[in-house]
């Protein structure tokens, strides 16, 4: 169906966002001798192999011991290093929350927590591994920067941007092969939302893999005469409230879209901003208080309504609420 749509962004290649992290880390290592990598027995899954190979002395395998990894990383900052930790998103957050809270966030340590296989799209492994609460947990922590890029190029750019950013950060990416629709030479500005498509009737705020679904949804809405604005919220925290309010002041209603629980994620952040400054109808696309399950990424995104079709549906509801 995508093919017949007149998309404002297109792609010629698909790649996993985790590879954007792996390639970004390698480049970061070349640019800055203080960058070190730590991994908890998932070098292949995190695509950290190239960094390990080129900088064996700056790479630390810690074994299946995620809490220890966060502690070691925080300690390395005391020694002046810029540690990037790598494991799955579930083990990067919930597993080690207290280590992050005390030793990284509260202590304001320059640790980059890099988390792969986030959300439903990891597929077969099922609910244990499909974390849908990580953005919420991380954005609740004072001092923490939370980034959820949308494709390979943006993930690579975000990884590089984190080297120069001083302070605790959470970088979330995923496993499936995904359209590469943003430019390779983009400048990644932490905390600055990116208006990808101009529109006037409804705003779609999307993050991570769902930015692509938002791009598709915009074309579908346009076919029905609805003009949607698409804003890529790659940084969940600090949230670009100015961009959000500017857009909704114009469109008057919005949809949020994320591969995450409705509780605590992007939608909640936007709701908080709107309710305090400019109350307007907001519809949510996300997982509604449920754990995941096995399946292919497409099947799971469809079942939980995390796709373009559902964004379109929610946009129409938002529009009706605005006019009604």
């Amino acid at each position: 169906m995508e093919k017949t749509l007149d998309l404002k962004y297109t792609y010629t290649e698909k790649k996993d966002t985790r590879s954007g992290f792996g390639d970004g880390l390698l480049e970061a290592g070349r640019n800055n001798p203080n960058v070190v990598g730590l991994c908890a027995d998932l070098i292949g899954s995190l695509k950290m192999g190239a960094f390990q190979k080129e900088f064996p002395e700056r790479f630390f395998q810690v074994g299946i011991a995620e809490a220890n990894m966060i502690g070691l990383a925080a300690g390395m900052t005391i020694g002046g290093k810029i540690p990037f930790t790598g494991t799955f998103a579930n083990f990067s957050t919930g597993r080690v929350y207290d280590q992050i809270r005390q030793s990284v966030a509260y202590s304001d340590k320059n640790v980059k927590i890099c988390a792969s296989h986030a959300g439903l799209t990891l597929g077969e492994d099922g609910a244990t591994h499909q974390i849908l609460e990580d953005l919420g947990m991380m954005r609740m922590l004072p001092h923490m920067t939370v980034i959820n890029p949308c494709d390979y190029n943006q993930t690579k750019a975000a990884t590089l941007a984190l080297v120069d950013h001083v302070g605790p950060a959470y970088l979330r990416f995923g496993r499936p092969s995904w359209p590469i629709f943003t430019p390779a030479d983009q400048k990644f500005e932490i905390g600055k939302a990116w208006k990808m498509i101009d529109g006037k009737d409804v705003t779609i705020f999307a993050t991570g893999h769902l930015v692509w679904e938002a791009v598709v949804a915009e074309a579908m809405l346009r076919e029905e005469g609805i003009s949607a604005e698409v804003i890529n919220i790659h940084t969940i925290k600090p949230l670009d409230t100015e961009a959000i309010l500017d857009s909704v002041a114009k469109t008057g209603c919005a949809v949020s879209a994320e591969e995450h629980q409705l509780n605590g994620g992007l939608g909640d952040s936007i709701a908080q901003t709107l309710i305090r400054n400019h109350p307007a109808p907001l519809e949510y696309v996300g997982v509604n208080d449920s754990f995941g399950e096995s399946g292919t990424p497409t099947q799971l995104l469809e079942k939980y309504g995390l796709n373009a079709e559902n964004i379109v549906k929610k946009a129409k509801i938002a529009l009706r609420r605005k006019s009604g």
Binding site: D41, L42, I43, G44, A65, F91, A127, E293, S294
Partner: protein, 282 residues
Amino acid sequence: MTEIELKLKSLEYRKKILRYIKMASAGHTGGSLSCTDILNVLYNRIMNVNPQNFKNNERDRYIQSKGHSVEALYVVLADQGFFPEAELETLCKYKSHFIGHPTRKVPGVEQNTGALGHGLALSVGTALAAKLDNLHFKVFTLLGDGELAEGSNWEALLAASHYKLDNLVVILDYNKLQITGPNAEVMNLEPVIPKFESFGCSVRQVDGNDLKELENNLLDVPFEKGKPNVIIAQTVKGKGVSYMENTLKWHHGVPNDQDYKLAIEELNNQISQLQKPQLHEK
């Protein structure tokens, strides 16, 4: 069941593990094959647990901490009659409750696992509950060697020996490999026996792919009154299929048609080898 029949069961289990991994196009192959014999002995010789008594609080408990080896568990549970084996054709598929890590939606599974480093604490808690009610069931848990790097295991062991839980049986599937490489390269675990001993456990070392040795030692529980039991089961990751044995890539490899054919042939050969001497004995 004769010893030969029990050995045949292990081989049949291995074939089924590969069959369902192939159908699912996903799975943790090496670790499931390494612990097949352990599960075989536990469910067919040692534990008092079956579909009829599964609601009975006196049943023995099995908690698989290395949850990723789910295929071995599901295959053995199907064989025990917890559910029809054909249901495993949906393993890891959309809308199936046979999710890629153990889930209580599947009859016979005590606990959802999959994040490593949880099973031992759960087992210690279960063993404590048994002591509290003066019940005589035992709690068995299976750990991976890579998994032992999780500090939670060692916290749980402190409690297990503090509370003198001789009704707890910790089995280490000691295949020496994890995802990225050998334990020795990823995070050294040795010397492992003195570690467990210094935590107050009674430790035995066995060939974890030898059914008789496993059975004899498991029948000996408790090894010492008032001490948690630890069995270091020396196993081979990928056991039973020569090209998978001790090979990193088969941690979660899915056999292609050619691989699969070869593996089944090898296992069938082992089956016919076993069946031959049996005829002479009679």
